[in-house]
């Protein structure tokens, strides 16, 4: 770790100003990701702007949407009555992530901004374009068991690691950000990026912009939802594959559907075509299997992750089954 400055701020504006003043400054929220990366010299900010004193922890209904402050803790959101009642998919996805201790520290904004867990990104002795553009992608021909099958580039095949974001992309959330030029809103699906030629950029948040909240429109997905996470141990491991499934079923007919996948791409992977294939159909295994096949179109595997081509659709089917028949 290098020596760095540390300042505390208590308004979004002060935070944005503080970050704008220094090159290579960073916000710090729960610190559960950033501090680890600093210890390993993967991120080396010269200044940390602590945002924990900014009053952005609220979770509330505002008109026809639920607004969650960027500093709301992962555990607080997961346990919120409002979220459990109206956004159970979000609650499930949060509880599938990390551990109780980490969820008690981690914030919504930090969760969205967490960096990939790619083995090559994490080891400064290894090549990684995301960590240092131009070094090459270590994973492309390396140990890529956990890596992406959708939207990859020659430069990067890393996956976005968050569970929460898979539910948020499915639920059509909107990100609210405050920057030097004021506030703006970014649809969740456009927040994270594909790697393309600039894998060093995880998302479209601009430098010096602070996430202040996420907004989730009211929806009918309060009952038939399931977040299914397949991982290499029963808890405390990142997703090999995860699926967020939300159905609105009436008389055994699917009126509306949302489907997104984790562990498969550089961004939370929304499966819009598969959703279309579900709507209007009976909630049956056949329907689910058909949607899963559509979902997997265009998938491309690498040496160690070919199993995802089979585990992916299977997990989609199972998540939909679980959603259709909640316990």
């Amino acid at each position: 770790m290098i020596q760095f400055q540390y300042v505390r701020t208590s308004t979004p504006k002060a935070a944005v100003d503080a970050v704008s003043k220094t090159q290579n400054a960073r916000f710090i929220a729960g610190g559960t990701n950033l501090v680890d990366l600093m210890k390993r010299n993967i991120m080396t900010p010269e200044k940390l702007v602590d945002i924990n004193n900014i009053p952005l922890k609220g979770i509330e209904q505002q008109g026809n949407k639920i607004v969650i402050g960027a500093l709301a803790l992962n555990s607080q959101v997961a346990d919120s009555k409002l979220v459990q009642e109206k956004l159970p998919l979000l609650s499930q996805s949060l509880n599938a992530g990390a551990s109780a201790q980490i969820r008690n520290m981690a914030t919504v904004g930090g969760n969205m901004m967490q960096r990939t867990r790619c083995n090559y990104f994490y080891d400064t002795a290894m090549p990684c374009n995301k960590r240092e553009p131009g070094l090459g992608c270590g994973a492309l021909e390396g140990f890529n068991r956990m890596h992406a099958i959708f939207g990859t580039s020659e430069k990067c095949i890393a996956v976005h690691p968050s569970d929460m974001c898979i539910a948020l992309v499915a639920l059509d959330a909107t990100v609210v950000a405050a920057g030097p030029k004021g506030e703006r809103r970014i649809p969740f699906a456009e927040f994270h990026r594909l790697p393309g030629d600039t894998p060093e950029k995880d998302n479209n948040l601009m430098e010096n912009e602070l996430i202040t909240a996420i907004e989730i429109p009211d929806n009918a997905f309060t009952r038939n939802v399931h977040y299914l996470k397949i991982r290499d141990r029963a808890s405390y491991a990142f997703a090999v594959i995860s699926v967020a499934a939300a159905l609105h079923i009436e008389n055994n007919t699917i009126k509306d559907a949302r489907l997104a996948m984790g562990g498969v791409s550089h961004k939370p992977w929304r499966l819009s075509e598969a959703e279309k294939a579900l709507i209007g159909k009976p909630a049956s295994e056949k329907t689910f299997r058909n949607a899963a096949e559509i979902a997997m179109q265009g998938a491309k595997a690498y040496k160690h992750n070919a199993f995802k081509l089979k585990l992916g659709p299977n997990t989609i089917v199972q998540a939909l089954k679980n959603a259709a028949e909640p316990v």
Partner: protein, 768 residues
Amino acid sequence: MLRNPCESKEKSLNQQIMNEAFFDKKDYKSLDRVDGRLKVTGAARYSAEYQLPGLVYAVLVESKIAKGTIKSIDSRAAERAPGVLAVISHVNAIKVPGYQTSNQHPSEPPVNGQPLRAFYDNNVYYNGQPIVAVVASTLEKAQFGASLVKIQYEKEQHKTDFDANMDNAVLPAQAKKNPKSPVADYNRGDKNAFVNAPVKIDAEYVLPTEVHNPMELQAITAYWEADDRLTLYDKVQGTQPTQQHFAKEWNLPPENVKVIATFVGGAFGNGLHNWPHETAAIIAAKQVKKPVKLVLTREQMFTMVGYRPYTWQKIQMGATKDGKLVAINHESVGQTSSYEEFTESTLQQTRMMYASPNVNTRYRILKLDVSTPIWMRGPGEATGAFALESAMDEMAFSLGMDPIEFRLMNYTDSDPDKQLPWSTKYLKECYDAGKEKIGWDKRKMQPGSVRSGEWLVGYGMGTGTFGANRGAAAVRAQLDADGNLLMQCAITDIGPGTGTAMVQIASNTTGISTDKIIFQLGNSQFPKAGNQGGSSTVNSVGPAVQAACNALKEQLKTMIASKGGSNAAFASAKKEDIVFVNGQVQIAGNDSAKVDIRTLFKQNNIQKMETTQESRPDENRNKYSMYAFSMHFAEVHVHPLTGQVCVKKVVCCGDAGTIISPKTAANQMIGGATGGIGMALTESAVIDHRFGRYVTKDFAEYHVPVHADVPHIEVFFVNKPDTLADPVGSKGLGEIAIIGVAPAIANAIFNATGKRIRELPITPDKLI
């Protein structure tokens, strides 16, 4: 219906796990860990927790190439960094006297080769090798200094890929020299019996590299109290073996080297060897003339303190149609480093476990550009058991036999390898009781026949065995006028509860209540002991405790009887009948024979009574074959679509002689089963062979099982003494706790799914 059967599990307290029915009144009772309070309150001091005056910190910089030489080290920036006291490498390290002589660890079997010498020359043998130590006034300053060191290499072609290089496997040098070596080729009976066997199994098994990963990181605090006097607070499994090692390395009389390891936060074998980081800290301490603390990072634990080697095995098993084994051929190739030949007894159990008249074993090692492995819990046996017990299951299935029936059919009442009777063996008792506890009757022969909701249910079993080892050990016992007993021994306690067991043996031998007994350990200045390893502590140190207690009794008897009068009865009392009650020495059953210890000591003008007694293995070791045995059952649920595995229940039985400390013994078995779950389902250290560098080297990527992976583990013991093995009648159980668990789970998965997975770990992708 549950979404995931693992989301709800019977959790149980340790007490419930013990099957008290197996213990009769005279047996040992459950005692809470004597040092439990110290551990949970943080009062227990570990090797990294000694704040010596003037303490400074060292951080190691490792190699980033797998083979070659160091061209240059640019340490200028590091040297100028704040707080940095020294940047040490082969360029400027002081000469270590022992580097010129052969540097073998005194307690190990001779390994062919030259252990890695820290900062000796510019050779790089593997990726992750310690190259530079940066010493600074704080840990953070040392870390920052370390990040500034620039090393240039001359790279050479490396080999780390086991599969690609397997053809280069060789017979270990010790076997070449000595055909009787345990790792030499072995043949019993007809060499070619397999070929003509009516029913055959021919299969290959792979175990990836596993890393011990105890909770406590390897740590050492090295302090030169004088130019020729060295004190080490060191996380090791043997204080005296370490003392001897460093006495030799630094050309010092052993009494000038003091090694303290009062508490060790788990080790699983990685403290059975002395490693370069220890020497690095000692060199640094000498060079900066201050005590130096060095703690490895989790990542360095993967390359600096050994691991369970990647191992390929092949088993050819032949049987008659009615289930009699006629042949077992078992081959194994284990990974080792380019500079040392590490070997382990992967094939031993194949020679003795079952009554096959014809057995061939063939052990090879493969030298790669990696660090040297070291024994990891249940060392080679756990690896070997995965292959042997999987093959037994495969054969039982081919024969259409129940796996237990098949094992009973080939049960052996004497050791077919050594051709000696067993000292004791109660595996049949384990099978019988275990079957019932796991609910074996619910098992169907045909895989995939049992379901719980969507999940496939399977049952499997595996047996384990490990030598009932015993070494020489000595214990000093001191009785004070208040009737308190203090004992000391150099042995370490890496977690099994050694102090607790020894207090129980002493209490059982003397009648002194356990709260008046203290057992001190983990100091090389205490009486003799080897390593805590190979399941040999209770059987080695326990008899010395017993001997010391009995010697105290003899001394007391003589002292009391010499007074004559009513005390004369003591002269002829048997030592078993002498007991201590409330500060008095008594003869059991003789109410008039009572002597107050305080008064006695006063009369004789002494403060304390002391003795040191040594106990050694006896000639029974040549007349009997001595092994501990274990039996593990697993119930697993597997999801047919997603390949998720939930281990729903594990039942373990230990045939380990007398169980001295039921609670900590059960704790050992539970820990072993947990390690076995990791071996079966989650653990694997992966190397990217392009760089020869590990890519799964932290707790996020190297998956040790978490609570959610670990089900209700029911433990029970046969608890019948083996007094041929040693006078306390116990056989060790640290190893048998894990040996046989992984195949039990793999076999259960086969029973659930029909999928036979021969390469561990069994992750979901292998089951879809």
